[in-house]
C-alpha cells in the first residue's frame, strides 16, 4: 500500500510538472516575438509531451517523439530560420487589440472543449505493458500493415515534393 501511495504521488507530481512545462512553453512560443526563441520554446513543449507519453506507458511514442520532433522537425525549422533570418515581427500585439481578441477567443474555445472531459471517466488502468515496441509493432505490421506502407509512400512523396518546391526555378 505504501509503495502504491508513493508511486501515485510520483506519477501525479510528474504529470503536474510535465503539464506545467507544456503549458508555459506553449504560451511562451505563441508570445515570443522572435521566431528563434519560439522554436526553443517549442523544443521544451515537445519534451514535456514526451514525458506525458512516458507516463501513459507509451514507451515507443515517447522515444519517437524525441527522435522525430525534437530531433528532426525542430532542427528543420531552425535551419530554415537560419537561412531566411528570423526577424522579429514588426507589428505589436496591442494591449486592447489582438491580444484581447486572442484571450477572448481562447477562453471561448476552452469553455467549449472541456465540459465533456470534466466527468471522471475510467479510473482503473489495465495492461501496464501496453505501449511496448512488441505490442505496437505487432499492431503496425498486423492489422495496420496497409496504412503503414501508405505512410512510407507519403513520406517519399513529401521528400520529392519538398525537393521540387525548394529548388530554385530557372
Amino acid at each position: 500500500m505504501r509503495v502504491e501511495f508513493w508511486s501515485g504521488i510520483y506519477e501525479g507530481g510528474s504529470f503536474l510538472v510535465a503539464a506545467g512545462l507544456i503549458l508555459i512553453s506553449s504560451v511562451g512560443m505563441v508570445l515570443s516575438r522572435r521566431p528563434l526563441y519560439g522554436a526553443l520554446w517549442l523544443v521544451s513543449a515537445l519534451l514535456g509531451t514526451a514525458v506525458v507519453y512516458a507516463l501513459l506507458h507509451a514507451h515507443f511514442l515517447a522515444a519517437a517523439q524525441l527522435l522525430v520532433y525534437a530531433g528532426a522537425v525542430v532542427v528543420l525549422v531552425l535551419i530554415v530560420l537560419m537561412l531566411l533570418g528570423g526577424n522579429p515581427e514588426r507589428y505589436r500585439l496591442g494591449a486592447f487589440g489582438l491580444g484581447f481578441l486572442a484571450i477572448v477567443f481562447g477562453v471561448i474555445l476552452v469553455w467549449g472543449l472541456t465540459p465533456g472531459f470534466l466527468v471522471p471517466l475510467w479510473e482503473s488502468s489495465p495492461a501496464s505493458d501496453l505501449g511496448t515496441v512488441q505490442n505496437l509493432g505487432r499492431a503496425l505490421y498486423g492489422r495496420f500493415v496497409f496504412p503503414f506502407e501508405a505512410a512510407s509512400l507519403l513520406i517519399l512523396t513529401a521528400l520529392v515534393g519538398a525537393l521540387m518546391l525548394a529548388r530554385r526555378l530557372k
Binding site: 503549458l23 506553449s26 501513459l56 507509451a58 515507443f60 505496437l136 499492431a139
Partner: protein, 100 residues
C-alpha cells in the same frame, strides 16, 4: 493515479494555445510551429485514450500522426522557402497577388 480527464484537459489547453497562436501570429514559420503544437495536443488525447481503454489502436493513430506531421513540416518549410523567394517576406499578410 492521474485521471483521464486531466490528460484531456491538458490536451485541450495545448490545442487551444496552438489554435490561438495560429490565428493571431503572422510569421509563417511560427504558424507552422503552432500547427505542430496542435498535432501534439491531439496525440496526447490519442495516447491517453489508448491507455485508459487498454487498446493499442490509439497509439498506432498517434504514430501515424507523427509520420504525417514530419511530412507536413518538410513540405510546409519548402513552401515557406519558395514563398520567401517570391515576396521576400515571412509575413503571412504579405502575399496578396491572388486577391481580386
Amino acid at each position: 493515479m492521474v485521471p483521464l480527464s486531466a490528460y484531456l484537459i491538458l490536451s485541450a489547453l495545448m490545442f487551444v494555445i496552438g489554435a490561438v497562436g495560429f490565428i493571431f501570429r503572422r510569421n509563417t514559420i511560427v504558424m507552422l510551429m503552432c500547427l505542430e503544437l496542435m498535432l501534439n495536443a491531439v496525440n496526447i488525447s490519442f495516447a491517453a485514450f489508448s491507455r485508459f481503454h487498454g487498446n493499442i489502436d490509439g497509439q498506432v493513430a498517434a504514430f501515424f500522426v507523427i509520420v504525417a506531421a514530419a511530412a507536413e513540416a518538410a513540405l510546409g518549410l519548402a513552401l515557406i522557402i519558395s514563398l520567401y523567394r517570391a515576396v521576400k517576406s515571412l509575413d503571412s499578410y504579405g502575399p496578396d497577388e491572388l486577391r481580386p
